[in-house]
């Protein structure tokens, strides 16, 4: 009797091993059509990405039974960048791969490593606002996968209704609203400096206003001709952050609040407005499904009520490396991704968290309210601008610490902007950009 528990272990271990063998044997044997050609697709390893990637692969296979798509994953962030760069450099890249657009895309030597897709018929389906962020020289190289997002203010509509507030179109109105919310006893603006990256939105999300005031800012910025500290439009983001802090509009515990806690405050109405990326919507959907439709979205306001543009984040691209031997099959797959069937397949897998950048892709009627609020800005090109990181390779790594300091009253807006310019100079020198050394 005493020994039975011990004796059980080998038995359990044995059966687990056996089960594992059966399972792996099963999945290796599965797959069906033996004539099918297999192409590989390298994606990042977030749950969201893998879910829609597998669904896309499955639906594509249903439409094209002779081609199978196999998903490969890579880590995110710097490790992922290294894998992509190394595999491209050694000619060992998957048949198609997903990667960032904008400044990171420029760093993988598109002209040398990728097959241009400029003349492909399906490129007509791709939105014109996406093409610049996957273009190098005269050619475009990628199709969009996933949805567009925004760096904007998420707000609690119930709080606004109770206080009879309307969506602000200018910074003045925003501050006026915020003072009223504060007087009612609710935190007017949620800040979450325990998760430092969230502090950057006042600056990053303000870029559409900068671009509206100075359309060549991104270009001049890359060429080291304009600076945050000296450009009157660009420094506004820092100044607004300072002003909001000085007016005491933040939640009291802003310094120790984390990103998930901030979302909780927003969903429960403990805080009214949260400048953040709309990437937060899928998370709100999972954690607070009942309150999701209480949340609306408006752009970070600037000075001009007539413009009031939205700063948008473009989705990643899917690219075709020159090393692939299955060009025809891979192109068919890209065409599928850039089609309405492709969008539907993604929506079915993960829901729609923003507009697709493929023409003709409609969103289902039950998209979250905040996504509906975003759509008019995406439809009209004069009312949006991609974030600076899609237009310029120059971005300093210390912005989040600087904005925490400005937003906590440790450093002034002017100092913060100047320090960020120094940070940016350092990064541009490391990248050997022309005009900086």
């Amino acid at each position: 009797m005493i020994f039975t528990p011990k004796r059980r272990w080998p038995a359990i271990a044995g059966s687990v091993t056996a089960a594992a063998l059966v399972l792996t044997g099963c999945s290796a044997g599965g797959g069906g059509n033996s004539d099918a050609k297999t192409i590989t697709w390298l994606v990042d390893n977030t749950e969201n990405t893998i879910t829609y990637a597998e669904k896309l692969a499955e639906d594509f296979n249903a439409a094209n039974p002779d081609i199978r798509v196999e998903i490969e994953t890579r880590p995110q962030g710097g490790d992922g960048d290294n894998i992509v760069k190394t595999r491209l450099a050694t000619g060992d890249m998957a048949d198609v791969f997903s990667y960032n657009t904008g400044s990171l895309f420029q760093q993988i030597n598109p002209e040398q490593n990728l097959v241009p897709l400029t003349g492909e018929p399906y490129m007509d389906n791709v939105s014109d606002s996406f093409k610049p962020v996957v273009a190098a020289g005269d050619d475009v190289y990628g199709v969009p996968v996933g949805t567009g997002s925004a760096g904007a203010v998420l707000y609690n509509k119930k709080v606004f209704e109770e206080l009879g507030l309307s969506v602000p179109k200018t910074w003045e109105e925003f501050m006026e609203n915020s003072r009223k919310i504060k007087d009612s006893g609710t935190a007017a603006i949620i800040q979450s400096y325990q998760t430092t990256w969230t502090s950057q939105l006042f600056v990053l999300g303000d870029f559409a206003n900068v671009a509206a005031a100075n359309p060549t800012f991104a270009e001049d910025y890359t060429a080291n001709k304009v600076k945050y500290a000296t450009d009157p439009a660009a420094i506004k983001g820092f100044e607004h952050l300072e002003e909001a802090y000085k007016a005491g509009l933040f939640n009291e515990d802003f310094a120790s609040t984390t990103y998930p806690q901030a979302l909780e405050k927003l969903a429960n109405g403990d805080g009214a407005q949260y400048p953040i990326l709309s990437f937060a919507l899928p998370e709100l959907k999972v954690s607070y499904p009942d309150q999701l439709n209480d949340i609306g979205l408006f752009p970070l306001p600037g000075d001009d009520p007539a413009k009031n543009p939205l700063t948008i984040w473009l989705p990643g691209g899917v690219y075709l490396p020159k090393s692939t031997e299955n060009v025809e099959e891979a192109k068919k797959f890209l065409a599928f991704i850039a089609s309405t069937e492709g969008c539907d397949s993604q929506t079915e897998a993960v829901g729609a968290n923003g507009p697709y950048l493929v023409e003709g892709c409609d969103l289902p009627d039950d998209v979250p309210t905040a996504v509906k609020d975003m759509l008019p800005f995406f439809d009209d090109e004069t009312r949006n601008s991609p974030a600076l990181e899609f237009l310029s390779p120059v971005k300093g790594p210390a912005l989040e610490q600087i904005t925490v300091e400005v937003g906590s009253g440790i450093r002034s807006a002017k100092d913060g902007a100047a320090l960020y310019d120094a940070d940016v100079t350092k990064q541009a020198k490391q990248l050997n950009l022309p005009g900086w050394n």
């Binding site: 710097g78 325990q194 320090l419």
Partner: protein
């Protein structure tokens, strides 16, 4: 010259005449091939990286290619505003943790060498925090030190004290981390002091008692001077640990809020994160030089005193 000429005859002689001395000066106990594995490991894992890092600190380097830029990295590193803050913070942190560990460690060691009950058990308890992972300790204390929901401030509120925002108030952040570092590290100092104290012969204390010395006199005139080697060890170990401290700070504040609790090591790590490999390598060279510049003279000073005593 001598070794060359004598090697062969000696070897031959040794085989034939075991009575001759086996080792002579300049001749090693083992043949050269015996050193080879260790030498290879030493060269590839220690020598090459050390010199490579000195080399790469003069370059702009993205792990696959580099450009020689001379002293630019060092100029950049020293013009970094965060670095000045980091440098002062590093010294404050190193000195504060080191002093507290010496003082508290000595007092605790005196307590734990006395005739108290469950001495062995109490001795092991003081050592437990040393065994924990810094990241785990950091995360736990981040929760405990939360200004509104943390246990520490709630406990203080019970006795009517309005506790500070430990980790988010720029004036407190660095000190809060230093306190946690002391809590975690004082066990090691205590153990070293205990070893130092128990090695003092009890005759000294008996003789002092006979002459009517007070306990305070005993402590300052017997325990403290005779435990000097232990004190020197604790100071050097905790100062090195304090100067290159990183894990606890990163787990608790990430150098924040803003740059207010940055130390050299966290400034260096941020350069790595940003992909500025050459620059951060230069930072590591600077850190190495600073630690050496502090520790070498200090250790010479402490050891000289020890000999004189």
């Amino acid at each position: 010259m001598t070794t060359n000429t004598t090697t062969a005859p000696t070897r031959a002689a040794r085989r034939t005449d075991p009575a001759k001395p086996k080792r002579r000066s300049g001749q090693s106990a083992y043949p050269y091939w015996f050193y080879l594995p260790a030498a290879l490991i030493y060269a590839t894992l220690f020598l090459v990286p050390t010199f490579a890092s000195f080399f790469f600190s003069f370059t702009r380097w993205n792990l696959t290619e580099f450009t020689w830029i001379g002293m630019d990295n060092f100029v950049q590193f020293f013009s970094e505003e965060a670095l000045l803050k980091g440098l002062t913070n590093t010294f404050i942190y190193g000195v504060v943790t080191s002093v507290l560990k010496v003082v508290l460690g000595m007092l605790l060691a005196v307590l734990l060498t006395s005739q108290i009950i469950a001495r062995g058990y109490l001795r092991s308890i003081i050592f437990f925090p040393v065994l924990l992972s810094s990241i785990g300790v950091g995360i736990v204390f981040t929760v405990l030190m939360d200004p509104s929901t943390g246990l520490i401030n709630k406990a203080l509120a019970v006795v009517g004290i309005d506790g500070p925002a430990w980790l988010t108030d720029p004036a407190w952040a660095l000190m809060s981390v230093a306190f946690v570092d002391v809590w975690k590290g004082v066990g090691l100092a205590t153990v070293i002091f205990i070893a130092g104290i128990v090695s003092i012969p009890s005759e000294y204390f008996e003789a002092a008692k006979m002459d009517g010395a007070s306990p305070v006199k005993c402590f300052f005139n017997i325990t403290l001077p005779l435990a000097r080697p232990a004190t020197a060890t604790v100071i050097i170990l905790s100062l090195i640990g304090g100067l290159r401290s990183f894990d606890l700070i990163w787990a608790m504040t990430k150098g924040g809020p803003g740059f207010t609790s940055d130390v050299i090591a966290s400034v260096i790590f941020k350069q790595y994160q940003a992909g500025f490999y050459g620059l951060s390598t230069a930072g590591n060279v600077v850190l190495f030089l600073i630690v050496t510049a502090v520790i070498v003279p200090l250790s010479m000073f402490l050891n000289r005193k020890e000999v004189e005593a």
